[in-house]
């Protein structure tokens, strides 16, 4: 029990501490890699409450557009890394186009006249707001 008096730092202390640091940094890198794909999440496009399109937003694809047929006519969706917007729509008020870009999970663009909904899904990033009422 009287060991602490000569309790000099041992090689084991250093090895153990370095090991913890290395293991932590390695897991940080691995977690960052594994969750990188979730960041941009996915955009789900629904027409008349039916899922018609699922777009991965993780890939780098600036300016890529998709067109779906709504009740009135075509709606064009533009996607970028991590976000999506309604580029053009066959509806009167263009509220959906005016919504602009959406990027956070749970956010949506709704075009009622054309029955088109773009919803962002995916892992919610911790520490961010749950919802925003507008």
């Amino acid at each position: 029990m009287k060991k602490y008096k000569s309790n000099k730092i041992t090689a084991g202390d250093i090895v153990f501490t370095v090991l913890v640091v290395v293991a932590s940094v390695a897991s940080m890198v691995m977690i960052a890699r594994a969750t990188a794909g979730e960041k941009g999440s996915t955009a789900v496009v629904e027409v008349s409450a039916k899922k018609v399109l699922r777009i991965e937003l993780s890939a780098d694809q600036p300016g890529k557009t998709y067109t779906v047929r709504g009740m009135l006519g075509p709606s064009t969706i533009e996607v970028e890394k991590g976000r999506a917007r309604m580029l053009a729509s066959t509806c009167r008020d263009k509220i959906c186009v005016g919504t602009g870009w959406v990027d956070a999970p749970g956010k949506e663009i709704v075009c009622l006249p054309n029955r088109v909904v773009i919803r962002i899904t995916g892992e919610r990033k911790p520490g961010r707001v749950d919802t925003v009422t507008e």
Binding site: M1, K3, Y4, K5, N7, K8, I9, T10, A11, G12, D13, F16, T17, V20, V21, A23, S24, V25, A26, S27, M28, I31, T35, E123, P126
Partner: protein
């Protein structure tokens, strides 16, 4: 179990030291915006108890200071988190102290205690919240435990050596 007066007194002193340290620490601003990332000053009491009086004293000090501290703060969840973290980290420190004291000094024991404390608290938080993404914080909490564990280790060594040379710590 019959305790000598001296032992009861020492236990009470160590528990008080731990409680006072945790109260002092609670007045510090948070080190990092990460739940669970704290200095863990109260662990000094446990480490001193372990090295001056042995494993059973360390366990008693931890259990008492976590229970009393939790009652003082009045939060059941806080009690659960600090009790689980304190208990598991003390058991790990005792195991290293008893089995590997040739390899790891008081400093290494303290770092190991800090790491297991944070890991256990995270596991306990997972039991409460049930969100597996919580474990993404594990490496951050583990790496933070290195400097805090080193700090606590150096403090404990200093205090343990002083107490020993004053021969106050007689079993």
């Amino acid at each position: 179990m019959i305790m000598g007066t001296r032992r009861v007194t020492n236990l009470a002193l160590l528990v008080s030291i731990g409680l006072v340290l945790s109260i002092i620490e609670s007045t510090f601003p948070p080190l990092l915006p990460l739940p669970g990332a704290k200095l863990g000053l109260a662990n000094i009491a446990t480490v001193i108890a372990l090295y001056l009086f042995g494993p059973s004293m360390a366990l008693e000090v931890t259990v008492l200071r976590c229970l009393i501290g939790g009652l003082l703060r009045g939060s059941v969840i806080g009690l659960f988190l600090s009790f689980s973290g304190g208990l598991v980290s003390t058991l790990v420190m005792i195991a290293i102290y008893m089995l590997m004291s040739d390899q790891l000094s008081i400093i290494g024991v303290s770092v190991a205690g800090a790491v297991t404390h944070n890991a256990t608290q995270l596991a306990a938080a997972f039991l409460l919240v049930g969100h597996a993404t919580l474990f993404n914080y594990l490496p951050y909490l583990a790496i933070i435990a290195v400097p805090t564990g080193l700090f606590v280790g150096f403090c404990s060594r200093r205090v343990a050596n002083s107490l020993e040379s004053l021969s106050l710590a007689v079993k």
